[in-house]
């Protein structure tokens, strides 16, 4: 019998796997990528781009090397599509199978916050995270792109492009001016997390030194016929336009909650991170005692915190399974928690500083597409609300929003916030789509493979 299935081989998943193994647990790690590292440490064992990507990136290398050398049962290329108390179903390179274990740890990380505006579905519009993944994983870049949005990751990829000698056409920053003042309420945390603040300021001056101006804009739209042709934006009340074929947009990242939602564990709306977070205790335990969460999928906190929360979750699971006693791990748990507190100190400041403008969270123009898969506009959502559609689940039936291949990953948070803005209810009161298994599109053949071969690989 497997003791623990970990889903995700990023900083949280790898650390949890090493910790659990150390405590004598039999661990299996399933990861949808083909190499360990998650998105933040994507392709981290490749040293060829170190000068471009910077020291924060290769911090993850030792961890990935230790993980690969540990002998943990690691299954790359495994796409999980069902998680329940009776097993985890996934499709890997050899087809679909089901694994059972006493505990499951979700360490599936974050996703880019969807940013619906006019033209965001056009080819040529991608997330800044997508650009960074292409740089890390494939050494592929988009010269003369326009970067639009807010947040540390936006400036990081701009800096990395400039280090790589890739021309950047413009950087348009949407951070609302008022955020600077309101973030100062959390100045204490910013001081404790000074290391991060200094790094951020270093990045901004690196961009300016390279001769790239960061323009503070009030609003923007993306336009083109079959692909992106122009970015139209407003600076200090003045309309401007740039011609470009690539726009890379970013408004921060949010926890990837599709898997945790599908398991039925409770989630809360977190106003500071403007996102759904699984309800979990300090060790990541959800309201289902077999299911824990660690890393960015339990709340955005970055790579170091992810490792620490992975360690805490694995220690708690080892204790649940009587492999270690509370006394044995007490000192270690205390130490890890203290480090986690220090590392998290800057988070309230960053969350407030880079809080997206409200109309980028819930669009105000009726012609903006909210559900990309089913081409559902804000106007259709408004119409459905005016006809009495009571919530996101009913919105699926009214408009087909959330019914396409991404299964509401992209439009889910936007529909919630748009309905909240329209009705005056809080996002928590509006709720989220009910997410059901299979939470990835699978064939009947794959489902049948799981039914035919239960526990086939579990022993």
């Amino acid at each position: 019998m497997i003791d623990l299935i970990i889903i995700g081989a990023g900083p949280a998943g790898m650390t949890a796997a090493l910790t659990a193994q150390e405590c004598g647990l039999k661990v299996v790690v399933l990861d949808e990528q083909l190499r360990p590292g998650g998105q933040i440490y994507r392709n981290v064992l490749d040293t060829s781009k170190d000068t471009i990507l910077g020291p924060d990136y290769f911090d993850g290398r030792t961890l990935a090397q230790r993980f690969l050398a540990s002998g943990v049962d690691y299954r790359p290329g495994a796409q999980v599509w069902r998680i329940d108390d009776d097993g985890v179903c996934f499709t890997g390179p050899d087809g679909a199978s089901i694994l059972r274990a006493r505990h499951v740890l979700l360490a599936v990380g974050a996703m880019e916050r969807p940013v619906p505006t006019r033209g965001w579905t056009l080819p040529g519009v991608m997330t800044a995270g997508a650009a960074q993944i292409m740089l890390k994983a494939s050494g592929v870049v988009a010269p003369n792109a326009v970067f639009i949005g807010s947040g540390p990751l936006l400036f990081l990829i701009v800096a990395q492009y400039l280090r790589a000698g890739v021309a950047v056409k413009a950087v348009l920053e949407t951070t609302p001016r008022g955020n600077y003042a309101s973030a100062l309420r959390h100045a204490g945390g910013a001081l404790r997390g000074w290391r991060y603040v200094r790094k951020g300021m270093g990045m901004l001056s690196e961009i300016r030194r390279a001769g790239v101006r960061i323009e503070k804009i009030d609003s923007y739209t993306l336009a083109g016929r079959d692909h992106l042709e122009t970015v139209d934006y407003v600076v200090a009340g003045q309309a401007r336009q740039i011609g470009c074929d690539t726009a890379l947009i970013h408004q921060g990242v949010i926890p990837a909650v599709q898997a945790s939602l599908s398991s039925g564990c409770a989630h809360d709306w977190n106003a500071a991170q403007v996102a759904w977070l699984p309800k979990a205790d300090a060790s990541g335990r959800t309201d289902k005692d077999w299911l824990r969460v660690a890393g960015d999928c339990r709340g955005i906190a970055g790579a170091l915190s992810a490792q620490l929360s992975g360690e805490l979750a694995a220690l708690a699971i080892a204790q649940d399974q009587n492999r270690v006693t509370a006394d044995e791990i007490a000192a270690r748990t205390k130490r890890v928690r203290a480090k986690l507190n220090t590392d998290n100190a800057v988070r309230p400041f960053l969350d407030q500083l880079y809080l997206p403008r409200p109309d980028l969270l819930a669009p105000t123009n009726d012609d903006v597409t909210i559900c990309r898969c089913e081409l559902v506009t804000r106007g259709q959502i408004r119409q459905a609300v005016s006809e009495g559609c009571p919530g996101p689940n009913q919105m699926k039936a009214f408009t087909r929003s959330g019914m396409g291949p991404c299964q509401g990953r992209m439009c889910g948070p936007v529909v919630t916030q748009t309905m909240a803005a329209m009705t005056g209810l809080s996002p928590a009161a509006v709720g989220h789509y009910r997410i059901r298994s299979p939470f990835r599109p699978v064939t009947l053949h794959e489902m049948a493979q799981c039914a035919e071969a239960p526990d086939q690989k579990a022993t």
């Binding site: 056009l122 870049v141 010269p143 990309r372």
Partner: protein, 106 residues
């Protein structure tokens, strides 16, 4: 548009069939990235029609979330090309609108 870093060491290429045409792509590269560099762009048209017809689409997130990068790989439709790697002999077809129902799939 996307290109390979000028400083990158040239990658070994392999033979791939794209929409029935023989091409070469860098071995092991993420398929969606390789297709973008190759110029297979826009990548597909949406199965759902807008008021003015189907929409042109291309990869958006590159991390398996948005499902905009769907292609047919070796006869299997709706595969996320951002989660696939270029392999020798791979047969890739772009998807145009909604699929036909075929009886011969296993």
């Amino acid at each position: 548009m996307f290109e390979q870093l000028k400083t990158a060491t040239p990658l070994e290429t392999v033979n791939v069939t794209l929409d029935g045409v023989a091409i070469t792509l860098p071995k092991g590269m993420t398929l969606a990235a390789a297709l973008l560099v190759h110029g297979a762009y826009p990548l597909r048209t949406s199965p759902v029609q807008g008021p003015d017809g189907p929409k042109q689409r291309a990869p958006y997130c590159m991390m398996g979330v948005c499902f905009e990068c769907l292609v047919e790989i070796d006869g299997k439709p709706n595969q996320q090309s951002c989660l696939a790697q270029v392999r020798d002999g791979m047969v890739v077809n772009r998807q145009d609108g909604a699929p036909d129902i075929k009886g011969d799939r296993t």
